[in-house]
Symmetry: C2
Subunit: 292 residues, 2 copies
């Protein structure tokens, strides 16, 4: 299947939350027909009123589903797996399924194993989000300057992979790459999940509300992600437990090294860590995404 930029290509979004809604907005602007399944009727009503989707249903219907040549699952991981368990048989050969799930190893093989012949699931992780929820807060600008990662297995076809990459481009992602599920989950444990663990721990570490008056940019930046949906993130952490525990241990070792250096007055070690940190962080600046 190739995506065609016209209303003949119908894309079905399952789950109209922040990400599903942002996908819908971006794809409808590009000229696709966008339909949605979302159990919350008020989300569908909102999306219709604001022309974010062309049609929506709050139940799962074979005829409705069969209109789509591409289906995007924007659900919590476990809800996604249950959905596939229940409704995978409704898909017809030729359709391509993709997702937005933030963890992959626990998802991809299981979903692929449950699909009818000729139905291809090609996993993707759009590394974009906000600290707010729901289609009411959806915003397709979050994809600009963001990374879109395609996560194929040996079961995927080149056509499926290409379609998924094209989807990433159509959504407006600036960087589209391909990773294995294992590599993806290791990377996400470090770059995303560990940072959320740190931000949450930091916010839990002081009960002095007065500090808000003295907060500088560094603390604000570091804790922006401390506003966190506890159900979704607990699920994501649990589904990626082993790589995340490993990264938490790695971080703790470095943090304890710095603590001991400070306690012992070992300025050489402190400076050595700061120099390494500065050198490594400089690599990230080259991407030109820094706000300052």
């Amino acid at each position: 299947m190739k995506l065609n930029k016209n209303s003949e290509t119908t894309i079905l979004i399952v789950g109209l939350g922040l990400l599903g809604g942002s996908y819908a907005k971006a794809l409808k602007k590009k000229g696709y027909t966008v339909i949605a399944i979302e159990k919350r009727q008020s989300a569908i009503d909102y999306a219709l009123e604001n022309e974010i989707i062309d049609e929506g249903m709050s139940t799962v219907d074979r005829a409705f589903i069969s209109r789509a040549s591409l289906v995007v699952f924007a659900l919590y991981p476990k809800v996604f797996l249950r959905w596939i368990d229940e409704f995978a048989s409704l898909f017809k050969a030729g359709v391509i399924l993709t997702d937005v799930t933030g963890v992959k190893s626990c998802i991809v093989d299981e979903v692929q194993s449950k699909l009818p012949d000729g139905v291809e699931f090609i996993a993707a992780h759009p590394m974009a989000g906000r600290e707010v929820y729901g289609v009411e807060n959806s915003d397709d600008r979050i994809f600009q300057n963001a990374n879109f990662i395609v996560v194929p297995t040996e079961k995927n076809t080149q056509e499926g992979i290409d379609t998924c990459k094209e989807l990433g481009r159509e959504l407006g992602f600036s960087d589209i790459s391909v990773l294995s599920a294992k590599k993806h989950d290791e990377m996400i444990a470090f770059l995303s999940q560990l940072t959320h663990c740190i931000a949450v721990s930091l916010m839990c570490a002081s009960d002095d509300d007065g500090i808000v008056h003295y907060t500088g940019d560094s603390f604000r930046d570091l804790t922006r992600i401390a506003r966190i949906n506890e159900d979704m993130w607990t699920e994501l952490f649990m589904l990626n437990r082993s790589p995340l525990l490993y990264e938490m241990e790695n971080f703790s070792k470095q943090f304890e090294r710095l603590y001991s250096a400070l306690k012992d007055g070992d300025e050489e070690t402190m400076k050595e860590m700061m120099k390494l940190s500065t050198r490594r962080r400089a690599l990230f600046d080259k991407k030109g995404n820094d706000k300052k």
Copy 2:
């Protein structure tokens, strides 16, 4: 002394780095005569060429110093203390001294004890900065939406405190407050120094350069401050060792609590921490400084 917005009021900046240069820019724009002492002649040349200061000297001269009614020390903490040791006797009664030092307990009493009669030192901490250095990078816009903290002792006069507050307003700080040295150092240990320790440890925790391709905003925001001047920050950490070690321990306890919860599959504790984190972080949003 009252600050008068005209060229009759001369302000001396000692140390033309990023902060000293930014002070100079802001104050010259307001109409003050700004003079500077800076040992690096090229910094003085740059500041003169770019009309950041009116006059500058690379040596310490009694006549030059005596022209200022307000002196701002923008030096590393230990350099500042040595400067006071060597040159405090050059100041005449009536002059007000202030500083930009990021730690206070180790500075304020010592400086105040070494000044001639009638010379008042009123400590201040402008909570603003950038990850770049030198007068060449100075920028008075960094004071907007930032906090200016005045740190008086029982030796300070109301006039001195008021002058320092006025300086903060003239520089363009949006929030000016008063804290004791002890309270300031505890607050800064948590809000600024601990966050830098975390960012540095995080950058030291992975040697995989490839991750830069997959980095999202959360990691970028969290590690922005990981580009760090190792000499300055090691000095600041060592000078505030006890409060910082305490805050590092507090953070570690919370981080280990989250680690254990994840390891044990204790989802209730994970969610409880995330809810507390979200609730506390929401307080910070009310300030309206968030970038998203």
